[in-house]
Protein backbone atom coordinates (compact mmCIF):
# COMPACT_ATOMS: atom_id res chain seq x y z
CA UNK A 1 0.00 0.00 0.00
CA UNK A 2 2.76 2.37 1.00
CA UNK A 3 4.73 1.42 -2.07
CA UNK A 4 1.73 2.08 -4.26
CA UNK A 5 1.27 5.43 -2.56
CA UNK A 6 4.84 6.37 -3.23
CA UNK A 7 4.58 5.32 -6.85
CA UNK A 8 1.42 7.36 -7.23
CA UNK A 9 3.06 10.41 -5.81
CA UNK A 10 6.05 9.93 -8.11
CA UNK A 11 3.64 9.75 -11.01
CA UNK A 12 1.97 12.89 -9.76
CA UNK A 13 5.25 14.69 -9.50
CA UNK A 14 6.12 13.67 -13.03
CA UNK A 15 2.80 15.13 -14.19
CA UNK A 16 3.29 18.30 -12.18
CA UNK A 17 6.77 18.90 -13.54
CA UNK A 18 5.59 18.20 -17.08
CA UNK A 19 2.89 20.84 -16.67
CA UNK A 20 5.42 23.37 -15.44
CA UNK A 21 7.73 22.52 -18.33
CA UNK A 22 4.93 22.91 -20.88
CA UNK A 23 3.97 26.27 -19.41
CA UNK A 24 7.60 27.38 -19.46
CA UNK A 25 7.97 26.34 -23.10
CA UNK A 26 4.78 28.21 -24.02
CA UNK A 27 6.04 31.25 -22.15
CA UNK A 28 9.16 31.28 -24.32
CA UNK A 29 7.06 31.80 -27.43
CA UNK A 30 4.63 34.43 -26.14
CA UNK A 31 5.46 38.08 -26.54
CA UNK A 32 5.32 41.27 -28.57
CA UNK A 33 7.68 39.81 -31.17
CA UNK A 34 6.57 36.41 -32.39
CA UNK A 35 9.19 33.69 -32.33
CA UNK A 36 8.58 30.35 -33.97
CA UNK A 37 10.47 27.12 -33.73
CA UNK A 38 11.73 27.71 -37.23
CA UNK A 39 13.23 31.09 -36.29
CA UNK A 40 14.89 29.49 -33.37
CA UNK A 41 16.75 27.06 -35.54
CA UNK A 42 17.69 29.43 -38.33
CA UNK A 43 17.52 33.07 -37.21
CA UNK A 44 20.32 34.26 -34.89
CA UNK A 45 18.18 37.24 -33.90
CA UNK A 46 15.45 34.92 -32.72
CA UNK A 47 17.94 32.94 -30.69
CA UNK A 48 19.27 36.15 -29.22
CA UNK A 49 15.78 37.28 -28.18
CA UNK A 50 15.11 33.96 -26.58
CA UNK A 51 18.34 33.93 -24.62
CA UNK A 52 18.39 37.54 -23.55
CA UNK A 53 14.71 38.15 -22.83
CA UNK A 54 12.30 35.22 -22.94
CA UNK A 55 14.31 32.64 -21.05
CA UNK A 56 15.31 34.99 -18.18
CA UNK A 57 11.73 36.13 -17.91
CA UNK A 58 10.38 32.61 -17.71
CA UNK A 59 13.00 31.59 -15.17
CA UNK A 60 12.33 34.73 -13.13
CA UNK A 61 8.61 33.93 -12.93
CA UNK A 62 9.29 30.36 -11.80
CA UNK A 63 11.95 31.34 -9.27
CA UNK A 64 9.99 34.24 -7.81
CA UNK A 65 6.71 32.31 -7.59
CA UNK A 66 8.29 29.31 -5.92
CA UNK A 67 10.36 31.37 -3.51
CA UNK A 68 7.43 33.59 -2.52
CA UNK A 69 5.16 30.65 -1.78
CA UNK A 70 7.82 28.94 0.34
CA UNK A 71 8.69 32.06 2.30
CA UNK A 72 4.97 32.68 2.86
CA UNK A 73 4.60 29.22 4.36
CA UNK A 74 7.60 29.74 6.68
CA UNK A 75 6.32 33.17 7.71
CA UNK A 76 2.92 31.75 8.59
CA UNK A 77 4.50 29.25 10.95
CA UNK A 78 6.79 31.85 12.51
CA UNK A 79 3.84 34.20 13.04
CA UNK A 80 1.64 31.28 14.10
CA UNK A 81 -1.10 32.62 11.86
CA UNK A 82 -2.50 31.60 8.49
CA UNK A 83 -3.40 35.08 7.30
CA UNK A 84 0.07 36.61 7.28
CA UNK A 85 2.40 36.90 4.33
CA UNK A 86 5.74 38.71 3.99
CA UNK A 87 4.75 41.00 1.09
CA UNK A 88 1.94 42.87 2.86
CA UNK A 89 3.18 42.46 6.44
CA UNK A 90 6.15 44.76 6.50
CA UNK A 91 8.79 42.68 4.73
CA UNK A 92 7.94 43.96 1.26
CA UNK A 93 7.72 47.57 2.48
CA UNK A 94 10.98 47.23 4.43
CA UNK A 95 12.71 45.96 1.32
CA UNK A 96 11.48 49.05 -0.55
CA UNK A 97 12.77 51.22 2.29
CA UNK A 98 16.16 49.53 2.02
CA UNK A 99 16.34 50.14 -1.72
CA UNK A 100 15.40 53.76 -1.14
CA UNK A 101 18.03 54.22 1.58
CA UNK A 102 20.64 52.68 -0.69
CA UNK A 103 19.63 54.90 -3.61
CA UNK A 104 19.51 58.08 -1.51
CA UNK A 105 22.59 57.71 0.67
CA UNK A 106 24.87 55.32 -1.17
CA UNK A 107 24.08 55.93 -4.83
CA UNK A 108 27.58 54.98 -5.91
CA UNK A 109 27.85 51.58 -4.25
CA UNK A 110 27.74 48.35 -6.18
CA UNK A 111 24.41 46.71 -6.82
CA UNK A 112 25.38 43.87 -4.49
CA UNK A 113 25.86 46.26 -1.59
CA UNK A 114 22.44 47.80 -2.28
CA UNK A 115 20.84 44.37 -2.22
CA UNK A 116 22.59 43.73 1.08
CA UNK A 117 21.11 46.89 2.54
CA UNK A 118 17.63 45.87 1.35
CA UNK A 119 18.05 42.40 2.86
CA UNK A 120 19.10 43.94 6.19
CA UNK A 121 16.13 46.32 6.40
CA UNK A 122 13.81 43.45 5.48
CA UNK A 123 15.27 41.35 8.26
CA UNK A 124 14.76 44.17 10.76
CA UNK A 125 11.23 44.79 9.50
CA UNK A 126 10.18 41.13 9.71
CA UNK A 127 11.78 40.67 13.12
CA UNK A 128 9.88 43.74 14.33
CA UNK A 129 6.62 42.18 13.20
CA UNK A 130 7.35 38.94 15.04
CA UNK A 131 8.11 40.85 18.25
CA UNK A 132 4.85 42.75 17.85
CA UNK A 133 2.85 39.59 17.19
CA UNK A 134 4.35 37.83 20.23
CA UNK A 135 2.68 40.41 22.45
CA UNK A 136 -0.78 39.63 21.04
CA UNK A 137 -3.06 37.15 22.78
CA UNK A 138 -3.41 33.78 21.05
CA UNK A 139 -7.16 33.85 21.55
CA UNK A 140 -7.57 36.54 18.90
CA UNK A 141 -6.38 34.97 15.63
CA UNK A 142 -7.75 37.66 13.32
CA UNK A 143 -5.97 40.37 15.29
CA UNK A 144 -2.63 39.13 13.96
CA UNK A 145 -3.23 39.81 10.25
CA UNK A 146 -4.84 43.12 11.13
CA UNK A 147 -1.78 44.25 13.08
CA UNK A 148 0.46 42.89 10.33
CA UNK A 149 -1.38 44.81 7.59
CA UNK A 150 -1.28 48.08 9.51
CA UNK A 151 2.37 47.50 10.44
CA UNK A 152 3.13 47.06 6.75
CA UNK A 153 1.14 50.23 6.03
CA UNK A 154 3.12 52.25 8.58
CA UNK A 155 6.44 51.16 7.12
CA UNK A 156 5.04 51.89 3.67
CA UNK A 157 4.04 55.42 4.73
CA UNK A 158 7.51 55.94 6.23
CA UNK A 159 9.03 54.86 2.91
CA UNK A 160 6.69 57.13 0.96
CA UNK A 161 7.69 60.06 3.18
CA UNK A 162 11.37 59.63 2.36
CA UNK A 163 10.61 59.04 -1.29
CA UNK A 164 8.78 62.37 -1.42
CA UNK A 165 11.57 64.25 0.33
CA UNK A 166 14.16 62.77 -2.00
CA UNK A 167 11.90 63.26 -5.05
CA UNK A 168 11.97 59.53 -5.65
CA UNK A 169 8.26 58.75 -5.97
CA UNK A 170 8.51 57.58 -9.56
CA UNK A 171 11.56 55.54 -8.77
CA UNK A 172 9.70 53.91 -5.91
CA UNK A 173 6.55 53.34 -7.95
CA UNK A 174 8.54 51.69 -10.72
CA UNK A 175 10.25 49.43 -8.19
CA UNK A 176 7.12 48.48 -6.34
CA UNK A 177 4.74 47.33 -9.08
CA UNK A 178 5.51 43.68 -9.44
CA UNK A 179 6.03 42.91 -13.11
CA UNK A 180 8.36 40.97 -15.27
CA UNK A 181 8.57 43.10 -18.42
CA UNK A 182 11.95 44.53 -17.40
CA UNK A 183 13.55 41.16 -16.83
CA UNK A 184 16.53 40.60 -19.08
CA UNK A 185 19.63 38.52 -18.92
CA UNK A 186 21.89 40.04 -16.28
CA UNK A 187 19.01 41.64 -14.40
CA UNK A 188 17.29 38.75 -12.70
CA UNK A 189 20.10 36.55 -11.45
CA UNK A 190 19.65 37.66 -7.84
CA UNK A 191 16.45 35.67 -7.81
CA UNK A 192 18.61 32.57 -7.75
CA UNK A 193 19.90 33.77 -4.37
CA UNK A 194 16.36 34.25 -3.09
CA UNK A 195 15.21 30.90 -4.46
CA UNK A 196 18.32 29.30 -2.99
CA UNK A 197 17.50 30.71 0.44
CA UNK A 198 13.96 29.37 0.13
CA UNK A 199 15.23 25.98 -1.01
CA UNK A 200 17.61 25.74 1.94
CA UNK A 201 14.65 25.87 4.32
CA UNK A 202 13.80 22.39 3.07
CA UNK A 203 16.74 21.09 5.12
CA UNK A 204 15.33 22.52 8.35
CA UNK A 205 11.74 21.78 7.29
CA UNK A 206 11.21 19.18 10.00
CA UNK A 207 12.38 21.56 12.68
CA UNK A 208 10.10 24.32 11.44
CA UNK A 209 7.25 21.80 11.43
CA UNK A 210 7.95 21.12 15.10
CA UNK A 211 7.95 24.85 15.71
CA UNK A 212 4.38 24.99 14.38
CA UNK A 213 3.30 22.98 17.45
CA UNK A 214 3.96 26.07 19.52
CA UNK A 215 7.02 27.39 21.26
CA UNK A 216 6.69 25.45 24.53
CA UNK A 217 5.96 22.11 22.89
CA UNK A 218 8.86 22.65 20.51
CA UNK A 219 11.21 23.48 23.35
CA UNK A 220 9.97 20.42 25.22
CA UNK A 221 10.87 18.29 22.21
CA UNK A 222 14.41 19.62 22.40
CA UNK A 223 14.28 22.15 19.59
CA UNK A 224 16.54 25.19 19.64
CA UNK A 225 13.62 27.55 19.06
CA UNK A 226 15.70 30.72 18.78
CA UNK A 227 18.04 29.31 16.16
CA UNK A 228 15.29 27.82 14.00
CA UNK A 229 13.24 31.03 14.18
CA UNK A 230 16.29 33.07 13.21
CA UNK A 231 17.08 30.76 10.30
CA UNK A 232 13.51 30.94 9.04
CA UNK A 233 13.48 34.70 9.40
CA UNK A 234 16.71 35.10 7.43
CA UNK A 235 15.39 32.87 4.65
CA UNK A 236 12.10 34.78 4.44
CA UNK A 237 13.85 38.17 4.47
CA UNK A 238 16.43 37.23 1.89
CA UNK A 239 13.77 35.83 -0.43
CA UNK A 240 11.41 38.79 -0.08
CA UNK A 241 14.21 41.33 -0.52
CA UNK A 242 15.53 39.64 -3.65
CA UNK A 243 12.08 39.42 -5.25
CA UNK A 244 11.23 43.06 -4.44
CA UNK A 245 14.63 44.23 -5.67
CA UNK A 246 14.38 42.43 -8.99
CA UNK A 247 10.66 42.37 -9.80
CA UNK A 248 8.77 44.53 -7.28
CA UNK A 249 6.05 43.51 -4.85
CA UNK A 250 3.89 40.56 -5.89
CA UNK A 251 1.20 40.25 -3.24
CA UNK A 252 -0.88 37.25 -2.15
CA UNK A 253 1.27 34.47 -3.66
CA UNK A 254 2.82 33.94 -0.23
CA UNK A 255 -0.63 33.96 1.35
CA UNK A 256 -2.95 32.02 -0.91
CA UNK A 257 -0.65 29.19 -2.00
CA UNK A 258 0.49 28.09 1.50
CA UNK A 259 -3.10 28.24 2.75
CA UNK A 260 -4.40 25.96 0.05
CA UNK A 261 -1.44 23.60 0.33
CA UNK A 262 -1.76 23.38 4.12
CA UNK A 263 -5.46 22.66 3.79
CA UNK A 264 -4.77 19.69 1.56
CA UNK A 265 -1.70 18.23 3.19
CA UNK A 266 -1.26 19.76 6.63
CA UNK A 267 1.86 21.31 8.03
CA UNK A 268 4.37 18.55 7.33
CA UNK A 269 6.72 20.94 5.63
CA UNK A 270 9.08 18.42 4.11
CA UNK A 271 6.18 17.30 1.95
CA UNK A 272 4.38 20.62 1.72
CA UNK A 273 7.26 22.92 0.74
CA UNK A 274 7.93 21.37 -2.70
CA UNK A 275 4.21 21.43 -3.46
CA UNK A 276 3.99 25.08 -2.39
CA UNK A 277 7.03 25.96 -4.49
CA UNK A 278 5.55 24.25 -7.51
CA UNK A 279 2.14 25.92 -7.06
CA UNK A 280 3.69 29.36 -6.60
CA UNK A 281 5.81 28.92 -9.72
CA UNK A 282 2.80 27.82 -11.81
CA UNK A 283 0.67 30.68 -10.44
CA UNK A 284 3.16 33.45 -11.22
CA UNK A 285 4.18 31.98 -14.57
CA UNK A 286 0.57 31.56 -15.68
CA UNK A 287 -0.28 35.05 -14.39
CA UNK A 288 2.59 36.59 -16.31
CA UNK A 289 1.62 34.75 -19.50
CA UNK A 290 -2.00 35.84 -19.13
CA UNK A 291 -0.86 39.43 -18.58
CA UNK A 292 1.13 39.32 -21.80
CA UNK A 293 -1.69 37.88 -23.87
CA UNK A 294 -4.71 39.81 -22.56
CA UNK A 295 -3.89 43.15 -24.03
CA UNK A 296 -1.02 42.58 -26.42
CA UNK A 297 1.09 44.44 -27.32
CA UNK A 298 0.64 46.16 -23.94
CA UNK A 299 1.26 44.18 -20.80
CA UNK A 300 -0.67 43.87 -17.55
CA UNK A 301 1.67 43.47 -14.57
CA UNK A 302 1.48 40.10 -12.92
CA UNK A 303 0.99 41.87 -9.57
CA UNK A 304 -2.37 43.32 -10.73
CA UNK A 305 -3.66 39.98 -11.93
CA UNK A 306 -2.49 38.11 -8.84
CA UNK A 307 -3.81 40.96 -6.68
CA UNK A 308 -7.36 40.65 -8.02
CA UNK A 309 -7.42 36.85 -7.80
CA UNK A 310 -5.55 36.72 -4.48
CA UNK A 311 -7.76 39.23 -2.67
CA UNK A 312 -10.82 37.26 -3.78
CA UNK A 313 -9.38 33.99 -2.49
CA UNK A 314 -8.35 35.69 0.76
CA UNK A 315 -11.95 36.75 1.37
CA UNK A 316 -13.20 33.23 0.68
CA UNK A 317 -10.62 31.81 3.13
CA UNK A 318 -11.54 34.42 5.72
CA UNK A 319 -15.19 33.46 5.63
CA UNK A 320 -14.65 29.73 5.58
CA UNK A 321 -12.79 29.99 8.91
CA UNK A 322 -14.94 29.50 12.01
CA UNK A 323 -16.17 32.67 13.61
CA UNK A 324 -13.95 34.35 16.20
CA UNK A 325 -15.44 36.66 18.80
Amino acid sequence: MALLGRRMSKLRWAGALTLLLVLALLSLFIGAVPVTLHDLLTDPQGQQLLLVSRLPRTLAAILAGGALAVSGQIMQILARNRFVEPMTAGAGQSAALGILIAALFFPATAIWAKMGIAACTTLIGSAGLLVLIRSLPLTQPLLVPLVALVYGGVIGAFTTFFAYQGDMMQFLGAWMTGELSGVLQGRYELLWVGAGAAALTWFIADRITVLSLGENAARGLGLNVGAVTAAGLVAVSLTTAMVVVTLGAIPFVGLVVPNIVARRMGDNLRQALPVAAWSGAVLVLAGDMLGRVMRAPFEIPVASLVGVAGAGVFLVLLYSEPRHD
Partner: protein, 321 residues
Protein backbone atom coordinates in the same frame (compact mmCIF):
# COMPACT_ATOMS: atom_id res chain seq x y z
CA UNK B 1 -16.72 70.85 28.39
CA UNK B 2 -18.00 73.89 26.53
CA UNK B 3 -14.95 75.84 27.67
CA UNK B 4 -12.73 73.28 25.97
CA UNK B 5 -14.76 73.62 22.78
CA UNK B 6 -14.22 77.38 22.88
CA UNK B 7 -10.50 76.88 23.35
CA UNK B 8 -10.43 74.56 20.33
CA UNK B 9 -12.38 77.14 18.32
CA UNK B 10 -9.91 79.85 19.30
CA UNK B 11 -7.00 77.64 18.31
CA UNK B 12 -8.55 76.91 14.93
CA UNK B 13 -9.22 80.61 14.24
CA UNK B 14 -5.64 81.49 15.18
CA UNK B 15 -4.20 78.73 13.00
CA UNK B 16 -6.39 79.76 10.08
CA UNK B 17 -5.18 83.36 10.37
CA UNK B 18 -1.57 82.22 10.51
CA UNK B 19 -2.11 80.01 7.50
CA UNK B 20 -3.69 82.74 5.39
CA UNK B 21 -1.52 85.68 6.48
CA UNK B 22 1.91 84.28 7.34
CA UNK B 23 4.60 85.54 4.98
CA UNK B 24 2.07 86.95 2.55
CA UNK B 25 4.29 89.96 1.81
CA UNK B 26 3.63 92.49 -0.91
CA UNK B 27 1.89 89.99 -3.18
CA UNK B 28 -0.91 89.56 -0.65
CA UNK B 29 -3.64 90.68 -3.00
CA UNK B 30 -2.84 87.78 -5.24
CA UNK B 31 -2.15 85.31 -2.44
CA UNK B 32 -5.13 85.87 -0.16
CA UNK B 33 -7.94 84.56 -2.39
CA UNK B 34 -5.76 81.62 -3.36
CA UNK B 35 -5.00 80.71 0.22
CA UNK B 36 -8.56 81.38 1.36
CA UNK B 37 -9.86 78.82 -1.13
CA UNK B 38 -7.38 76.25 0.13
CA UNK B 39 -8.31 77.02 3.71
CA UNK B 40 -12.01 76.64 2.96
CA UNK B 41 -11.37 73.29 1.30
CA UNK B 42 -9.42 72.06 4.31
CA UNK B 43 -12.10 73.19 6.73
CA UNK B 44 -14.81 71.50 4.69
CA UNK B 45 -12.89 68.24 4.38
CA UNK B 46 -11.97 68.26 8.07
CA UNK B 47 -15.61 68.84 8.99
CA UNK B 48 -17.02 66.15 6.68
CA UNK B 49 -14.57 63.37 7.52
CA UNK B 50 -14.65 64.03 11.27
CA UNK B 51 -18.43 64.03 11.52
CA UNK B 52 -18.66 60.96 9.29
CA UNK B 53 -16.17 59.08 11.47
CA UNK B 54 -18.00 59.93 14.70
CA UNK B 55 -21.24 58.66 13.20
CA UNK B 56 -19.56 55.53 11.85
CA UNK B 57 -18.00 54.69 15.18
CA UNK B 58 -21.29 55.17 16.98
CA UNK B 59 -23.35 52.91 14.74
CA UNK B 60 -20.65 50.20 14.55
CA UNK B 61 -20.05 50.51 18.33
CA UNK B 62 -16.26 50.69 18.15
CA UNK B 63 -13.47 53.24 18.33
CA UNK B 64 -11.03 51.86 15.79
CA UNK B 65 -13.05 51.80 12.58
CA UNK B 66 -13.38 54.61 10.07
CA UNK B 67 -15.17 54.69 6.70
CA UNK B 68 -11.79 55.05 4.97
CA UNK B 69 -10.40 51.93 6.64
CA UNK B 70 -13.35 50.09 5.14
CA UNK B 71 -12.25 50.78 1.58
CA UNK B 72 -14.08 53.97 0.72
CA UNK B 73 -11.07 55.73 -0.82
CA UNK B 74 -10.41 52.73 -3.03
CA UNK B 75 -14.02 52.94 -4.19
CA UNK B 76 -13.47 56.54 -5.29
CA UNK B 77 -10.48 55.56 -7.39
CA UNK B 78 -12.48 52.79 -9.00
CA UNK B 79 -15.36 55.10 -9.92
CA UNK B 80 -12.91 57.65 -11.30
CA UNK B 81 -11.05 55.08 -13.37
CA UNK B 82 -14.22 53.56 -14.79
CA UNK B 83 -15.50 57.00 -15.76
CA UNK B 84 -12.27 57.86 -17.59
CA UNK B 85 -12.31 54.43 -19.21
CA UNK B 86 -15.88 54.87 -20.46
CA UNK B 87 -15.67 58.51 -21.55
CA UNK B 88 -12.02 58.87 -22.47
CA UNK B 89 -9.88 61.47 -20.73
CA UNK B 90 -10.96 64.32 -23.00
CA UNK B 91 -14.59 63.34 -22.63
CA UNK B 92 -14.17 63.26 -18.88
CA UNK B 93 -12.39 66.61 -18.76
CA UNK B 94 -15.07 68.10 -21.00
CA UNK B 95 -17.89 67.32 -18.60
CA UNK B 96 -19.18 70.23 -16.52
CA UNK B 97 -17.69 70.28 -13.01
CA UNK B 98 -21.13 70.11 -11.44
CA UNK B 99 -22.06 66.99 -13.38
CA UNK B 100 -18.80 65.19 -12.50
CA UNK B 101 -19.30 66.10 -8.87
CA UNK B 102 -22.93 64.94 -8.89
CA UNK B 103 -22.03 61.64 -10.56
CA UNK B 104 -19.13 61.08 -8.18
CA UNK B 105 -21.14 61.77 -5.05
CA UNK B 106 -24.22 59.79 -6.02
CA UNK B 107 -22.28 56.77 -7.32
CA UNK B 108 -20.04 56.69 -4.26
CA UNK B 109 -22.99 57.08 -1.91
CA UNK B 110 -24.78 54.17 -3.56
CA UNK B 111 -21.72 51.94 -3.73
CA UNK B 112 -20.66 52.88 -0.20
CA UNK B 113 -24.10 51.97 1.13
CA UNK B 114 -23.97 48.64 -0.63
CA UNK B 115 -20.45 47.96 0.62
CA UNK B 116 -21.17 48.81 4.25
CA UNK B 117 -24.45 46.88 4.31
CA UNK B 118 -22.75 43.88 2.80
CA UNK B 119 -19.88 44.06 5.27
CA UNK B 120 -22.17 44.47 8.28
CA UNK B 121 -24.33 41.55 7.22
CA UNK B 122 -21.46 39.28 6.25
CA UNK B 123 -19.35 39.78 9.35
CA UNK B 124 -22.31 39.37 11.73
CA UNK B 125 -20.83 41.30 14.62
CA UNK B 126 -17.36 39.75 14.38
CA UNK B 127 -15.35 42.97 14.59
CA UNK B 128 -11.93 41.70 13.59
CA UNK B 129 -13.35 39.91 10.60
CA UNK B 130 -15.27 43.03 9.63
CA UNK B 131 -12.13 45.20 9.70
CA UNK B 132 -10.06 42.61 7.89
CA UNK B 133 -12.73 42.21 5.23
CA UNK B 134 -12.86 45.96 4.76
CA UNK B 135 -9.11 46.29 4.37
CA UNK B 136 -8.85 43.36 1.98
CA UNK B 137 -11.85 44.69 0.07
CA UNK B 138 -9.88 47.92 -0.30
CA UNK B 139 -6.93 45.94 -1.66
CA UNK B 140 -9.24 44.13 -4.05
CA UNK B 141 -10.79 47.39 -5.30
CA UNK B 142 -7.32 48.90 -5.71
CA UNK B 143 -6.16 45.88 -7.68
CA UNK B 144 -9.24 46.00 -9.92
CA UNK B 145 -8.64 49.74 -10.41
CA UNK B 146 -5.00 49.16 -11.29
CA UNK B 147 -6.08 46.42 -13.62
CA UNK B 148 -8.55 48.67 -15.46
CA UNK B 149 -5.96 51.44 -15.55
CA UNK B 150 -3.61 49.11 -17.37
CA UNK B 151 -6.32 48.36 -19.90
CA UNK B 152 -6.70 52.08 -20.57
CA UNK B 153 -4.52 53.62 -23.23
CA UNK B 154 -1.22 54.72 -21.59
CA UNK B 155 -1.86 58.35 -22.54
CA UNK B 156 -5.25 58.34 -20.87
CA UNK B 157 -3.71 56.70 -17.84
CA UNK B 158 -1.70 59.87 -17.21
CA UNK B 159 -4.97 61.71 -16.73
CA UNK B 160 -6.22 59.28 -14.12
CA UNK B 161 -2.97 59.57 -12.27
CA UNK B 162 -3.03 63.34 -12.22
CA UNK B 163 -6.51 63.49 -10.69
CA UNK B 164 -6.02 60.71 -8.18
CA UNK B 165 -4.05 62.61 -5.56
CA UNK B 166 -5.44 64.20 -2.43
CA UNK B 167 -4.70 67.81 -3.24
CA UNK B 168 -5.55 71.04 -1.50
CA UNK B 169 -3.36 72.98 -3.88
CA UNK B 170 -5.65 73.06 -6.88
CA UNK B 171 -9.19 73.30 -5.57
CA UNK B 172 -11.63 74.80 -8.02
CA UNK B 173 -13.89 77.41 -6.40
CA UNK B 174 -16.89 75.98 -8.28
CA UNK B 175 -16.23 72.50 -6.96
CA UNK B 176 -15.83 73.92 -3.48
CA UNK B 177 -19.23 75.54 -3.74
CA UNK B 178 -20.90 72.29 -4.83
CA UNK B 179 -19.19 70.36 -2.05
CA UNK B 180 -20.35 72.90 0.52
CA UNK B 181 -23.86 72.80 -0.93
CA UNK B 182 -24.00 69.04 -0.45
CA UNK B 183 -22.10 68.58 2.79
CA UNK B 184 -23.25 71.47 4.97
CA UNK B 185 -26.93 70.40 4.96
CA UNK B 186 -25.77 66.83 5.63
CA UNK B 187 -23.71 67.95 8.61
CA UNK B 188 -26.75 69.85 9.83
CA UNK B 189 -28.87 66.67 9.58
CA UNK B 190 -26.21 64.76 11.52
CA UNK B 191 -26.24 67.48 14.16
CA UNK B 192 -30.03 67.20 14.45
CA UNK B 193 -29.60 63.48 15.07
CA UNK B 194 -27.28 64.07 18.03
CA UNK B 195 -29.73 63.00 20.77
CA UNK B 196 -30.76 59.96 18.75
CA UNK B 197 -27.12 59.04 18.24
CA UNK B 198 -26.59 59.13 22.01
CA UNK B 199 -29.31 56.50 22.35
CA UNK B 200 -27.99 54.42 19.43
CA UNK B 201 -24.55 54.47 21.06
CA UNK B 202 -25.95 52.57 24.04
CA UNK B 203 -26.29 49.46 21.90
CA UNK B 204 -28.99 47.59 20.05
CA UNK B 205 -31.02 46.28 23.00
CA UNK B 206 -31.10 49.38 25.25
CA UNK B 207 -31.80 51.56 22.22
CA UNK B 208 -34.76 49.39 21.25
CA UNK B 209 -35.94 49.53 24.85
CA UNK B 210 -35.87 53.30 24.72
CA UNK B 211 -37.95 53.22 21.54
CA UNK B 212 -35.21 54.41 19.19
CA UNK B 213 -35.74 51.92 16.33
CA UNK B 214 -31.98 51.33 15.97
CA UNK B 215 -32.11 49.70 12.51
CA UNK B 216 -33.71 52.77 11.01
CA UNK B 217 -31.39 55.13 12.84
CA UNK B 218 -28.36 53.19 11.65
CA UNK B 219 -29.59 53.28 8.07
CA UNK B 220 -30.09 57.06 8.18
CA UNK B 221 -26.65 57.56 9.74
CA UNK B 222 -25.07 55.34 7.08
CA UNK B 223 -26.57 57.44 4.30
CA UNK B 224 -25.25 60.63 5.91
CA UNK B 225 -21.79 59.05 6.32
CA UNK B 226 -21.64 58.02 2.67
CA UNK B 227 -22.66 61.47 1.43
CA UNK B 228 -20.13 63.22 3.69
CA UNK B 229 -17.19 61.01 2.75
CA UNK B 230 -18.17 61.09 -0.91
CA UNK B 231 -18.37 64.89 -0.94
CA UNK B 232 -15.00 65.30 0.78
CA UNK B 233 -13.33 62.74 -1.47
CA UNK B 234 -14.82 64.21 -4.64
CA UNK B 235 -13.49 67.60 -3.56
CA UNK B 236 -9.84 66.80 -2.82
CA UNK B 237 -9.30 63.17 -3.78
CA UNK B 238 -8.60 60.20 -1.55
CA UNK B 239 -6.89 61.01 1.73
CA UNK B 240 -4.90 57.82 1.99
CA UNK B 241 -1.35 58.37 0.84
CA UNK B 242 -0.67 56.80 -2.51
CA UNK B 243 1.48 53.70 -2.33
CA UNK B 244 1.35 53.97 1.43
CA UNK B 245 -0.71 51.72 3.59
CA UNK B 246 -3.98 49.96 3.09
CA UNK B 247 -6.05 52.66 4.72
CA UNK B 248 -6.37 56.23 5.81
CA UNK B 249 -6.32 56.93 9.49
CA UNK B 250 -7.30 60.59 9.50
CA UNK B 251 -10.71 59.96 11.06
CA UNK B 252 -9.14 57.67 13.63
CA UNK B 253 -6.70 60.32 14.86
CA UNK B 254 -9.48 62.88 15.00
CA UNK B 255 -11.92 60.83 17.06
CA UNK B 256 -9.21 59.47 19.36
CA UNK B 257 -8.07 63.01 20.16
CA UNK B 258 -11.64 64.23 20.53
CA UNK B 259 -12.29 61.49 23.07
CA UNK B 260 -9.18 62.51 25.01
CA UNK B 261 -9.91 66.24 25.02
CA UNK B 262 -13.66 66.00 25.61
CA UNK B 263 -14.23 62.64 27.33
CA UNK B 264 -17.95 62.16 26.83
CA UNK B 265 -20.42 59.98 24.97
CA UNK B 266 -22.74 62.93 24.27
CA UNK B 267 -22.82 63.73 20.58
CA UNK B 268 -23.77 67.33 21.29
CA UNK B 269 -20.17 67.71 22.50
CA UNK B 270 -18.47 64.95 20.55
CA UNK B 271 -19.52 66.10 17.07
CA UNK B 272 -18.28 69.71 17.38
CA UNK B 273 -15.19 68.59 19.25
CA UNK B 274 -14.24 66.09 16.53
CA UNK B 275 -15.04 68.59 13.78
CA UNK B 276 -12.84 71.25 15.37
CA UNK B 277 -10.09 68.70 15.96
CA UNK B 278 -10.21 67.57 12.32
CA UNK B 279 -9.93 71.13 11.01
CA UNK B 280 -7.10 71.91 13.44
CA UNK B 281 -5.11 68.88 12.32
CA UNK B 282 -5.52 69.71 8.65
CA UNK B 283 -4.91 73.47 8.87
CA UNK B 284 -2.23 73.20 11.55
CA UNK B 285 -0.52 70.27 9.85
CA UNK B 286 -0.54 72.00 6.47
CA UNK B 287 0.82 75.23 8.01
CA UNK B 288 3.67 73.39 9.70
CA UNK B 289 4.49 71.32 6.63
CA UNK B 290 4.33 74.23 4.19
CA UNK B 291 5.56 77.24 6.10
CA UNK B 292 7.75 75.93 8.89
CA UNK B 293 9.38 72.80 7.56
CA UNK B 294 9.08 73.55 3.85
CA UNK B 295 8.46 69.84 3.26
CA UNK B 296 7.27 68.57 -0.07
CA UNK B 297 5.54 65.50 1.35
CA UNK B 298 1.74 65.70 1.28
CA UNK B 299 0.09 65.90 4.69
CA UNK B 300 -1.80 62.69 3.97
CA UNK B 301 1.41 60.65 4.06
CA UNK B 302 2.30 61.98 7.51
CA UNK B 303 -1.26 61.38 8.71
CA UNK B 304 -1.00 57.83 7.42
CA UNK B 305 2.22 57.27 9.34
CA UNK B 306 1.04 58.77 12.63
CA UNK B 307 -2.43 57.28 12.27
CA UNK B 308 -1.09 53.80 11.62
CA UNK B 309 1.02 53.93 14.78
CA UNK B 310 -1.98 55.20 16.74
CA UNK B 311 -4.12 52.40 15.31
CA UNK B 312 -1.59 49.79 16.46
CA UNK B 313 -1.38 51.38 19.89
CA UNK B 314 -5.18 51.38 20.25
CA UNK B 315 -5.44 47.75 19.13
CA UNK B 316 -2.73 46.60 21.54
CA UNK B 317 -4.15 48.61 24.43
CA UNK B 318 -7.65 47.25 23.87
CA UNK B 319 -6.40 43.68 23.88
CA UNK B 320 -4.41 44.10 27.07
CA UNK B 321 -7.27 45.69 28.96
Amino acid sequence: MTRRLWILTGLLVALSLVYVLAGAGPAWEFLLPFRATKLAAMLLVGLCLSVATVLFQTITANRILTPSVMGFDALYMLVLTIMVQLLGSSGYAGLPTALIFAINVSLMTLLGLGLFTLLQKGARGDMMRLVLTGIIFGVLLRSVTEFIQRMIDPAEFQMVQSISFARFTSVEPALLAFAALVSLPTVWLAWRMRARLDVLGLGQVPATGLGARPKQGQAVALILICILVAAATALVGPMSGMGGGPASFFGLIVTALAHVITPTERHAVLIPSAALMGCIILVGGQTIMERLLALSTPLSVVIELVGGLLFLALLLKRKRA
